[in-house]
């Protein structure tokens, strides 16, 4: 498949109807409605399914642990697995991911260990993993800021001649920030090898998309930057995977950025401290819960005879094991060293900061505080 839009002169508006490869019923969309985009192969689809099952279980487990007070907060991505997993599996190891607070399951699927991902939500350190090792930036909280980091890194790679690409997630609400615009625009001018995946889950905390923008859809922004824009069914992991793969391939070969809007829904509260009953109908939520991306793919795989009870059970077991391991990890008290607070602010030691560190060390000694 190819995303054939090459020059800005020929870029038009995306189709209003989001691209779908597999219907909700699990049947494949007719080839002529697939806009030249092929269904990913069987192995890929199975792997997408497996990873979504694991991610769902993981997310459910974290949510449960949060309710038990093990984490101070956790923004769930339940129901958004297609966008998250479809994007990450489309990436290569050398590619870079720039996630937000919402994208823990994407980071998990990138291979970052659980306790490192949840470090920030549990509260032992802001970012728990080594971004260089996993080619995965810290989960950004200040909205849309990470999109610019992503463009910068992508541009650096291009300047160095490295054939890698970058993917970044951005929420529907975050697209209203000035930084989102600047990121799209810089990416366009600099032909940055980047794919912007807009996770349009239709809410920014309590604010519905209709109060966020008057645009027909967010993918309509792309044309204003001379960038191809795509509108994808964000609950169809096959479509997400196919379009993101193609966009990443374009990026790696120097054809520049792509904006992909995944239309989905935030079925959970914004975080555990949110109260969605104040601002939306639970009937909408129920509707979208039924549009579950995992079940949709399962229906297809089953109908094609690719997924039987046994395989399904083995995936569930795998997910269960991962969840148990994670629970054990999180139930262990994190090792905390208050003095580490002073260690990473600068590369060069500052005497005045040293004084502050020593003062804290004195307090800790006085209190006989346990330090690891």
């Amino acid at each position: 498949m190819s995303l054939t839009v090459e020059t800005r002169a020929t870029i038009g508006l995306p189709d209003a109807e989001p691209l779908r490869l597999i219907e909700e019923t699990g049947t494949v969309v007719a080839p002529k409605l697939r806009r030249g985009i092929d269904l990913p192969g069987a192995d890929t689809l199975l792997e997408l399914y497996r990873r979504m099952v694991i991610a769902r279980r993981w997310d459910t487990q974290v949510t449960a642990l949060t309710r038990q007070g093990r984490l101070s907060t956790y923004p769930s991505a339940r129901g958004q697995e297609a966008g998250e997993i479809g994007t990450v599996l489309a990436m290569e190891a050398a590619d870079w991911l720039f996630p937000t607070y919402r994208d823990s399951i994407a980071v998990m699927t990138r291979g970052v260990p659980t306790e490192q991902i949840l470090s920030g939500f549990r509260g032992d350190w802001h970012c728990g993993w080594d971004p260089q090792e996993h080619r995965t930036a810290p989960q950004a909280t200040p909205l849309a800021t990470q999109a610019l980091h992503a463009v910068g890194l992508a541009t650096a790679a291009r300047l160095k001649g490295d054939p890698i690409a970058v993917a970044t997630f951005i929420g529907d609400g975050a697209t209203s920030e000035g930084d989102a615009h600047e990121a799209f625009n810089f990416a366009g001018v600099w032909r940055a090898p980047i794919v912007f995946v807009i996770q349009n889950n239709q809410f920014a905390i309590s604010v519905p998309l209709s109060k966020q923008t008057h645009s027909r859809m967010l993918a309509d922004r792309a044309v204003g930057y001379g960038i191809p824009g795509f509108h994808v069914d964000g609950n169809d992991v096959a479509a997400v995977y196919a379009v993101v793969s193609a966009a990443l391939a374009r990026a790696r070969t120097g054809d520049g950025p792509t904006i992909i809007e995944c239309l989905t829904y935030r079925v959970e509260p914004h975080t555990n401290s949110d109260d969605p009953s104040r601002y939306r109908d639970s009937s909408d939520v129920e509707l979208w819960r039924k549009r579950d991306p995992i079940e949709r793919l399962a229906r297809y795989l089953e109908s094609e005879g690719m997924l039987g009870d046994e395989l399904r059970r083995s995936f569930v077991q795998e997910a269960e094991d991962a969840a148990t391991a994670m629970r054990d990890t999180l139930n262990a008290e994190p090792a905390l060293d208050p003095l580490e607070l002073f260690d990473h602010v600068y590369n060069v030691e500052r005497p005045a900061l040293r004084e502050q560190r020593d003062a804290l060390a004195g307090e800790l000694d006085e209190n006989g505080s346990a330090r690891s």
Binding site: S72, T73, Y101, S119, G120, F121, R122, G123, D124, W125, H126, T141, P142, L143, G173, A174, S176, E177, G178, D179, A204, I205, S206, V207, K211, Q212, T213, S273, D275, R278, Y279, P334, L336, P338, L341, F342, V345, R350, A352, L353, Q356, L360, E363
Partner: protein, 337 residues
């Protein structure tokens, strides 16, 4: 919270949380002045992430209180235009760190419009910011931004430490023709107390002596007032008499009240959560020293956050000033008298 507008007296007679007091202040202002409007992220049906605007859209309608797109520069920038057309917008920044995208609009326009236009265009805008830590917030949710605003001429910066002040100061801020940065100590939102105070509330530009003492003037504001009071309690056990000042107004600074206290005690210390270097406490220390040097028996001390980014939740207790740390700092003074 009733849906009726209550009189200030009624409000002040009941024990209220600070959240409810702030809500009442906005409710009363909305009822009183049709030019008052409120908008920002999630301030509508949700009532804000801290529920401070709870019920206001329901009771005053979407034309008065509404959810804006998610863009802080846009929120403040449009408030400027609204104020130029006679509105009195109250906007909310969800947390200090999320006011930073609006920094240019605040510093280059909100603060400067009146001066730029030779007094012809005033901007009666209130920018509400839930400030500081103490709630175990994840990164970016516990900043204290007061030093940025107080260094910017043209801004009025105030912060209440209790429900009664929250009500009266927010009312006054909304009535002010000058733009006000209104810092709400988020760790105190659920602090409940009678908002009844004897007499007229103190104007928002005045500091309050919230506990009298003779040996040390402890200067605090917003979330550190409670810490200062706890320190004074502890000190009393050791027969050290601490006078606690709640600044209330950070800009302007009430030199009169603070100066009078320091001249009595001869010793002063200032407490805040923000980093020490270039923090608000530097101004407090510098101006007290300038004005009262020959009354000072010892240097003005600053007990503040460390010069590091605000820590992750499980580590914030090592960062925030606490009574023990404050008393220890005071003990470093020479006490030869």
């Amino acid at each position: 919270m009733t849906t009726e507008t209550e009189t200030p007296d009624a409000v002040r007679a009941k024990p209220l949380t600070m959240a409810a007091a702030l809500n009442s202040a906005m409710r009363d202002a909305l009822a009183e002045d049709p030019n008052v409007v409120i908008y920002g992220e999630d301030v509508g049906p949700l009532g804000g992430v801290f529920r401070i605007t709870d019920g206001l859209t329901r009771d005053f309608g979407e034309q008065r209180v509404w959810d804006s797109p998610l863009a802080e520069s846009g929120i403040v920038g449009t408030a400027i235009g609204m104020a130029m057309y006679g509105m009195r917008p109250i906007v909310e920044m969800q947390f200090d760190a999320f006011s930073y995208p609006a920094f240019e609009q605040i510093v280059s326009h909100v603060a400067k419009m009146r001066n730029r236009t030779r007094g012809r265009v005033s901007l009666p805008i209130v920018i509400r910011i839930p400030t500081s830590g103490g709630i175990g917030g994840v990164e970016h949710h516990s900043d204290s931004s007061e030093a940025y605003w107080t260094h910017t001429p043209g801004l009025t910066v105030v912060t209440p430490s209790n429900p009664a002040d929250a009500y009266s100061m927010l009312r006054e801020a909304i009535r002010s023709d000058d733009p006000v940065i209104f810092l709400e100590p988020k760790s105190h939102y659920w602090m409940k107390e009678s908002t009844e105070r004897a007499g007229e509330p103190l104007p928002m530009n005045r500091a309050a002596v919230v506990r009298e003492g003779t040996d040390v003037t402890l200067i605090s504001y917003g979330p550190t007032v409670a810490v200062a009071l706890a320190t004074a309690d502890l000190a009393a056990e050791e027969s050290l008499s601490i006078e606690v000042i709640d600044l209330r107004s950070l800009s302007p600074f009430d030199d009169e009240t603070v100066g009078a206290s320091v001249r009595r005690t001869g010793r002063a210390a200032v407490i805040h959560e923000a980093a020490k270097f270039g923090g608000y406490g530097a101004e407090v220390a510098a101006r007290i020293t300038e004005r009262e040097f020959f009354h000072l028996a010892a240097p003005v001390l600053r007990i503040t956050g460390a010069d590091i980014p605000f820590p992750a939740p499980l580590l914030e207790k090592y960062y925030l000033p606490n009574p023990e740390r404050i008393l220890h700092a005071l003990s470093t003074w020479e006490w030869d008298d």
